[in-house]
Symmetry: C4
Subunit: 377 residues, 4 copies
Amino acid sequence: MPRFKEIRRAYGFDEVALVPGEVTINPEQVDIEFELGDLTFSLPVLAAAMDAVVDPSLAILLDKLGGLAVLNLEGIQTRYENPNEVLTEIIQAASSEVTLLLQKVYSQPIKENLIAERIQQIKRAGAICAASVTPANTKRFTTIAVEAGIDILIIQSTVTTARHISKSPRGLIFSELCRATPVPIIVGNCVNYDTALQLMRAGIAGILVGIGPGATCTTREVLGIGVPQVTATMDCAAAREEYFRESGRYVAVITDGGIRTGGDLCKAFASGADAVMLGAILAQADEAPGKGYHWGMSSPHPSLPRGTRIKVGTAAHLEQIFFGPTSVSDGTQNLIGALRAAMGICGAANLKEMHRVKMMVAPAIKMEGKFWQLASH
Amino acid sequence: MPRFKEIRRAYGFDEVALVPGEVTINPEQVDIEFELGDLTFSLPVLAAAMDAVVDPSLAILLDKLGGLAVLNLEGIQTRYENPNEVLTEIIQAASSEVTLLLQKVYSQPIKENLIAERIQQIKRAGAICAASVTPANTKRFTTIAVEAGIDILIIQSTVTTARHISKSPRGLIFSELCRATPVPIIVGNCVNYDTALQLMRAGIAGILVGIGPGATCTTREVLGIGVPQVTATMDCAAAREEYFRESGRYVAVITDGGIRTGGDLCKAFASGADAVMLGAILAQADEAPGKGYHWGMSSPHPSLPRGTRIKVGTAAHLEQIFFGPTSVSDGTQNLIGALRAAMGICGAANLKEMHRVKMMVAPAIKMEGKFWQLASH
Amino acid sequence: MPRFKEIRRAYGFDEVALVPGEVTINPEQVDIEFELGDLTFSLPVLAAAMDAVVDPSLAILLDKLGGLAVLNLEGIQTRYENPNEVLTEIIQAASSEVTLLLQKVYSQPIKENLIAERIQQIKRAGAICAASVTPANTKRFTTIAVEAGIDILIIQSTVTTARHISKSPRGLIFSELCRATPVPIIVGNCVNYDTALQLMRAGIAGILVGIGPGATCTTREVLGIGVPQVTATMDCAAAREEYFRESGRYVAVITDGGIRTGGDLCKAFASGADAVMLGAILAQADEAPGKGYHWGMSSPHPSLPRGTRIKVGTAAHLEQIFFGPTSVSDGTQNLIGALRAAMGICGAANLKEMHRVKMMVAPAIKMEGKFWQLASH
Amino acid sequence: MPRFKEIRRAYGFDEVALVPGEVTINPEQVDIEFELGDLTFSLPVLAAAMDAVVDPSLAILLDKLGGLAVLNLEGIQTRYENPNEVLTEIIQAASSEVTLLLQKVYSQPIKENLIAERIQQIKRAGAICAASVTPANTKRFTTIAVEAGIDILIIQSTVTTARHISKSPRGLIFSELCRATPVPIIVGNCVNYDTALQLMRAGIAGILVGIGPGATCTTREVLGIGVPQVTATMDCAAAREEYFRESGRYVAVITDGGIRTGGDLCKAFASGADAVMLGAILAQADEAPGKGYHWGMSSPHPSLPRGTRIKVGTAAHLEQIFFGPTSVSDGTQNLIGALRAAMGICGAANLKEMHRVKMMVAPAIKMEGKFWQLASH
């Protein structure tokens, strides 16, 4: 019987586990540096360009900790002279009114002078500045951002491809943009080998990986689209290896979305990630602008439902989330401690060695019973 | 050790996800036209021949929206001069009495004059008219229906094959019927390659795909029979491709059953469907004759239990269910908006290109925790 | 890396579904006869040798319906002159006392005169008489049973093999027993190809298939032993085919255990069963001696926990359980109606054709939501 | 499309089942002896080196029963002259205070004189004495322990490899240690073929298998690391076979962690284990020092959360846990009765034959419904 099409099995974080290696390394001796173009970060973590996660203050703080925050150039920070007023309004709104309020807040026009102002706020503090735009606004905002001193440009939409078919006059061509722009460009999101390879060939410095990774994502439920993150990261990492073979240039693969614990973060690196982008988990930081609340970006599909505001609580200082100490045992804090420990156990001296660590498919079947949390003593 | 038989893995909607393509398309530019014989529909959706879903009014309304409703020629509409009275009786019956009432209602004889009358009601409004009969009544009702002006004939039972063995005198032979009938014939339901190919060779214009797709279907629980819809659609689509290669004639594959969200609908097309048939999801339309209730067809196995009435509620206008706008985020509304968005993301310019979109096996494991619905921002 | 051992995937009823065939048959025209040695049964069903399921009355009733009940020669019927008194005592015991009572009841000695008496009770009514003994008692009871007029002998323990290693003097040798015994012998339970083939070569007429089929079986939980029934039946059926090829003699494969619905029963036949043995589902019959209660056989492992009494309720007359009519839709009644319907849909004219029906792996994922029971209309 | 890496499917206890063999053996006749170096144990069970499980009294008791308890040389017994006082304090502490208390208790220094004292307590009773140290303390404590008369040395940490990279001066080299130490050395934990083979080549007498076997283990959740126990045991057993082929020396594989029932224990042996190490299941013994409570070892990663105290209750005497009789049917008691029964059913005359018993992948899908615990009668 002929088959209509083959369908490959894809895996998410919950379905895999790392296998210890043949050598162990003292966690303090593993190297977790992340390189992007000529820049080097001691923390391989990007904070997502969401208004509840990143504002200039958080960007400056994360820079001090060694990571990189991405400022959303199309959010509250660039629509309002006084963004804190608007943030407070969202945080304090009654649940019944928040959807309407979010729609109103994000319908205000973006002010070009604020784009420059926010970037300079970060740069004045001596921090590296990364900021994101959507493809539709890229041409309009890139020049402003570059002139304002931006260090890294992120072009992000739910799904990005090297080629887009539209009725509108000539759209964004990534190869031209990369040539014309003097700073490294990160593009996303993407989940497949061919698209990743085409974007790399266009000259990008990094790629954001992740579309509808979890079954409860709107993209997955409403559109049926999505690739679990382990497989998505592995496929884009395979494109990076292929592109490196053909060009000698190494493009950063950044897993974006679906990381809920230190364990997930370790698995992202073992799946081939050079860095990870975190959103919800950082919205819980005491210093996050959302002050314990989180909301999604305005939806790119206006006829589909928009994100809503949810309470995530404030769990710890940003520094604790990355480096501990922590009293919680659910894996949501001391993420970098977990990464170093896992690399040590798996015998990975640096992130490129972490890419070669073995993984197994080992579904997260919950063990029932009263005392099995200690079962492996 | 010799094996007794091989058993192949089959997949349902919940177990697969679509993979974005190498190019993206503006959703407004994708073409979702569906062709059946010489007819073209702007909406690739059929409304199921169920009394709670389709009456002449709804058929006329759906025609205006671009789709095709199928009137049940063996239901309330053709047994009662005044069907609305009977519908009201069913809707208002106490739960304890409804099973008996349904048995009584469907034991009334079908009136041949009403077959003609209902078809003409639809035709007088200028709408395309499709109506369904069971195999046992096909010979008796087809002539009446054709003379009344029917445009498309659907012959539907739980399971239909090209050949049926029975003690009764000479049964239905599809090849003869197709030759003798001047309108396109859709036959179903079917789930496998060989049967689909035989029915196509008999001359049918379309095939309904779906038998016991979900584990809770009566067919699946009581009889153990059923094929999950992704695999069923792919197998019948493989038969369509084979038949097209051998004959040059293209037969429509229509996925019928199991579609609960826009995501499922997108996956049906990516599995090879040319159109989908919707039942329960349309019973929720304000304009559906069930007025917020839904009940199954009288069972083809009288000694097995019959369907019962269930409350589905009225969720939105039919137009909103297809085109939005919507405030719900569970994927049950703006189905066509979702289809266009998914096709755009997957780079499918039309439904035939949607057939070639990649799918992965990516089980719908629910992510636990308080804020993960935004995890993929 | 060398592998320590291969582990094959096994399937249970919940994980597979039948695929409709290329032809459909009128359910009344399918032949479900079951042959065992020279005997033919119109109902391919055996009632399990459990005290809550079979007593002489039920054996006579089931004979009239066309099936075969197996009387337990080591249970209450052969330990007590007046078994109904003891049954009533068990049924009426308080929950807190029933385990002790069961231990006491089954510690009474078996009376040889009652073995003959119970067999003759059944024979006097003109019914075919089948009865079961354990391997340890086979030599002792077989002569009595044969002289009393038994038609079929069942030798049953949790796990039976052709060879048993023990310190005790010369044990049971099936090939000698089969030669020496003038009635057909059914042996069980068994789940694997090699053992089934050896037992068939020893001359048995039928084999009972099923050890620890479900994850909640004591055998599975306490000992870790068990093979899901679809795979167990297929493997024993493969042995039957092989033995038939080498000897020309056809041995009946009887799936015993794990069948909860008509769907499961249909799948057992599609997995290669010639008949099924039912226990708990028949304990619910109004005429069952357990009067709505059910309890296991005394455990063959005295240091492991014994079965307990559970309430199953009385659901319907035995005839209704097999042939309907029924008002329940969970598949626990009208089992033979379901079998005929499934065979008709799958195009199987008799049970041997049912063996060739296609199955797919289609896990029983429950669909969530309010109205999906009608989703496949 | 090139793949980034292959990921193999791994299996846990819940996902497999044993297949009965072609011969059955009387359970009393199976041989379950376990050999370690020159020592032979009639019970192939080690009690884990946890303070709630093993103290000198329990070690002496388990020796009498034929098994081997491992005393933790870095726990309460060697930090306190009067450990029972401290144990009582932990057991009686309020839940809110226990974490702090545990941190305080385990921060007291280890007293070298108590190491000798505890070992001699066990030896004076005529029992075999096994005790565990962590790699960091191995050099320091081994001489003391050997001089005190220890019979077996266990070197245990979450993950152990033959090679460890660290800034500290020359670390532990297992091959040197094995040559220099006059008693057999067991090392762990380990889960993979290559590491196991390297450790065996270093001269160890036994290997502990198990890292993050269950999804709820801290190692698995926080670090993403872990291999389900069936696969971990099979891979280490494959290394044992390979090492035996190359050297003629047989190294014991000891499955450590994740065993909750007799069924799990049987599966560990069928996966290739020569013995099992039990923790939580023995903490429930009346004679365990935890008196119904259990707590983990102080964490090897101080910046990650520490274990907490949980109530496990006292279920039975240690002897009953191993040999019955039992009134519970959940498989947590009469573990050795279960092992003997399973070996008898699977036709395994000794543990090496148990290694060759067939297993199948048979997921533990719970059967729903009221009476299916008896369904397989």
